[in-house]
């Protein structure tokens, strides 16, 4: 009868790229910093390797190849969005290694991005990872500073 006070288990979202982890509030785009798309954290990447941040299934990849909708094995919806305003590149500079419906593990390489091409086009490379149904979750810890893509935890969260 005390099920309701059972502690919800913490789940991890891993860094999708090598680089520096920052708080979502520091992303220079209000769609992310004001959590309009959801809550999470972001990476300032130092190279173009992109890894899945969670164990789960690829639900959708935008036609412009820079945004990935992934549902974790626990049912959490995670949006990985490479760069800010990357939509304007229409897929150029992105080599995607997976297709919708693929099952992935945290750390599975899912894409290679030409960061230099993004920079040449004045597109910020900052890459947010967010939980889109943020009202259902609480972010309990955000890792800040240097992280290794696919290996280090970016943030922890639990169901509320």
């Amino acid at each position: 009868m005390f099920d309701f006070i059972k502690k919800q288990k913490e789940m991890a979202v891993y860094a999708p790229m090598d680089g520096e982890a920052i708080k979502i509030e520091q992303v220079p785009d209000e769609a992310f910093s004001e959590k309009i798309l959801g809550d999470g954290a972001a990476i300032i990447p130092e190279n173009g390797n992109v890894y899945s941040p969670v164990d789960g299934e690829i639900i959708d990849i935008t036609d412009t190849k820079h945004a990935f909708c992934i549902t974790t094995n626990e049912g959490t919806e995670v949006l990985l969005h490479i760069g800010i305003d990357t939509v304007n590149l229409k897929g150029e500079g992105f080599d995607v290694k997976i297709v919708s419906g693929d099952k992935v593990k945290a750390g599975t390489k899912i894409a290679q991005v030409d960061l230099e091409l993004l920079k040449k086009n004045n597109i910020k490379t900052i890459t947010p990872v967010i939980l889109t149904e943020a009202q259902n979750y609480k972010i309990t810890q955000v890792h800040e500073g240097k992280v290794s893509g696919g290996r280090d935890v970016l943030f922890l969260y639990k169901k509320i």
Binding site: D29, A31, I36, L37, G38, I59, D60, T62, D63, T64, A67, C69, T71, E77, L79, H81, V87, N88, T132, E133, Q135
Partner: protein, 85 residues
């Protein structure tokens, strides 16, 4: 039930930023809110659902709002689409 159709004029279509804004309006609604495009229907309270529609420039979308605040919400979404997409 309220509904309207709208043809997307924005070159990029409904990508993450507008999707976030549309879902924000829909999530605040008591009504059920959906969008239909090319035979697929999305729950506008969910980012994933809307992004999976891959709405592009030139696509006609039909928005349906059903519930207590349907008139107000339908108007809000219509205004957002007209002004931004």
């Amino acid at each position: 039930m309220q509904e309207f159709t709208y043809t997307i004029k924005d070159k990029i279509g409904i990508h993450a930023r507008p999707a976030g804004n549309i879902v924000k309006i829909a999530k605040e609604a008591k009504s059920d809110v959906s969008m239909e495009c090319r035979g697929k229907t999305a729950d506008l309270k969910k980012i994933f659902s809307l992004m999976s529609l891959s709405v592009k420039c030139g696509d006609e979308v039909k928005v349906t709002v059903s519930g207590d605040d349907e008139v107000e919400i339908c108007e809000k979404i219509k205004r957002y689409l007209t002004e931004n997409l």
